[in-house]
Symmetry: C2
Subunit: 339 residues, 2 copies
């Protein structure tokens, strides 16, 4: 009794019957005598028999496991995505294996390798900030494992994606600032290799164009890590330069918060002199002072949708559809821009 858990074999031995009979008795197959069935079921219950999923996986060539590769679990947005994935997967009888890349390319590649080794039925991936080489992902596609990207999609790969409308979200945010009277809007941008960041930048640019505000490249500053201190430093630098600034659109809320700190430190009133809008609607955004306007991304829905998509692909024989599902964002106006 080392391995603790009871197997069909144990039950068969105790009842002096064959494994086949036990298996069939447990699955209500025809051709098993009621006596035998009853004895088997009773013993199975008594010993709390659970089918060995490993053995089943091997036989059926199907693990009922979805692999998830995510930059970090501690980001509020990503944790809501995980929650959505898990809920949907569990509902359909799947388990979820999670690996975090910690925004490192190598760990992302290792994680994918580990999950492929575990023969997950499908892979949900949000690439790391570092990732630009796509070999590890191309292998997955070539070997025929369904894969769906979420949030941070990858272009030119034969896989579906679930993203939010970053372009439109950014456009809405900037248009909102413009309507509040802003004419000199800083964009604290994210790293260019992430498509989501490029899209947000495009939204910023389009909104300016559509409202006939000339684009000035010096108003776009890259905050590579999206951290508060980084953004605060960048913003301080801009404020000290003497440029005219009356609005800030940050690539994410942490950067937005950094901007607010910088602005507060030099004593400029928010939102009266400078209005600020972030992106992602983090949990803290409604709680800070001034509360931060932001673009809400439906993380939980994204997780569910990504899981739904991968399950469809797993259960269909056809190759990937290569669809892109775009979820709507929502502008949440709070004190930092409400004037």
């Amino acid at each position: 009794m080392k391995s603790g858990q009871v197997t069909i074999k144990d039950i068969a031995k105790e009842l002096n019957i064959s494994c086949s009979t036990v298996s069939r008795a447990l699955k209500d197959f025809p051709g098993i005598s009621p006596t035998t069935r009853k004895a088997v079921v009773e013993l199975a219950n008594k010993y709390n028999y659970r089918p060995n999923a490993i053995a089943l996986s091997l036989r059926n060539q199907k693990t009922n496991v979805i692999g998830v590769v995510i930059p970090e679990t501690v980001h509020f947005f990503f944790s809501t995505v995980i929650s959505g994935i898990e809920d949907e997967a569990m509902k359909e009888g799947y388990n979820v294996m999670i690996c975090q890349s910690n925004e490192q390319y190598e760990r992302e590649a290792d994680s994918i390798d580990a999950l492929m080794g575990a023969r997950v039925d499908g892979l949900l991936v949000s690439i790391s900030r570092e990732t630009s080489d796509l070999q590890h992902l191309e292998k997955v596609v070539k070997e025929g494992t369904p894969m769906v990207f979420f949030d941070r999609l990858v272009e030119g790969m034969n896989a579906s994606s679930v993203i939010v409308d970053d372009y439109q979200g950014a456009y809405d945010a900037v248009e909102h600032l413009i309507k509040k009277g802003c004419k000199h809007i800083v964009h604290l941008a994210g790293p260019d290799n992430l498509i989501i960041c490029r899209k947000r930048k495009e939204g910023y640019i389009s909104a300016l164009e559509d409202h006939e505000i000339p684009l000035d490249e010096s108003y776009i500053v890259e905050c590579r890590f999206g951290e508060e201190a980084e953004a605060e430093k960048a913003m301080t630098h801009l404020l000290e330069s003497g440029m005219a600034i009356d609005g800030v659109f940050a690539n994410n809320d942490m950067a937005g918060l950094g901007a607010i700190s910088a602005i507060k430190k030099v004593g400029i009133p928010i939102p009266e002199e400078i209005a600020v809008v972030g992106f992602s609607n983090w949990q803290f955004s409604s709680l800070v002072n001034p509360s931060l306007s932001s673009i809400s991304q439906p993380g939980y829905e994204m997780g569910r949708e990504a899981a739904r998509l991968i399950l469809v692909e797993i259960n269909s024989k056809e190759p990937s559809k290569r669809e892109v599902t775009i979820l709507d964002t929502e502008l949440i106006v709070r004190d930092s821009s409400n004037r």
Copy 2:
């Protein structure tokens, strides 16, 4: 070529040799001719061969998977724990399967059943708020699967735990309030079936006793869900009752925030008239206004420690040690209590 991934069999067939030889060649076993080895290794690389972890699990009776059952992934504290677990597990070559109970007993039981069916090598569990029946956990112990509790431990079960020193943390928080001159301290408590909440309450009571402040039960109010609105309502009620109140110790930061809202709404200055301390040091706590003093819990370390413990148990033949690892908390003084 349906299943995509290459097996030892495929390689054996292509080279017209047996599986045994391929297997040995790949593992640098003695007694394989250099010619054969070279051919095998080259083909394995060419086809990107990865050992089938499922087959290995079945043969070795070991999955190299750790199961995690957690109330919710979206709580900042829990997501840091997950991060710690994942980092430690990956370092040791383990994968992590995560199930969230969403604070529901039944889903917790189902999750454990699913993970046991998947034959995880060990289980890390933080029980749901609803859980009081322990059958599902006792089964795990009886069947010999190593299990370690984290944060929310379970008493009277043969399993190790990793917790933070909730008692001491609460004691520190309340003592801090007393030293700031508070004499009438409200405790917004958590549900009594969670040991962590009982410990915090005990810390509150001991601190009062040690400083010769008489305990008044009406100053302890249960906020079952630890939500902002709930706490705000409770706090408003207390304030309206006309009781003398000059301090609040909340069971968690969300409740602390609710208290702050209530106090601000009736126009009482914080921290001058009423000082507030929360628990958990959530991410938002430093960002709100006034910033919320809190007790910091080392979530990431807890995750790593829990993973470390379970790995030790998995790799040792002896039965569980039933150790309780207590991690230190830290009082973070911020504006809500700094006067």
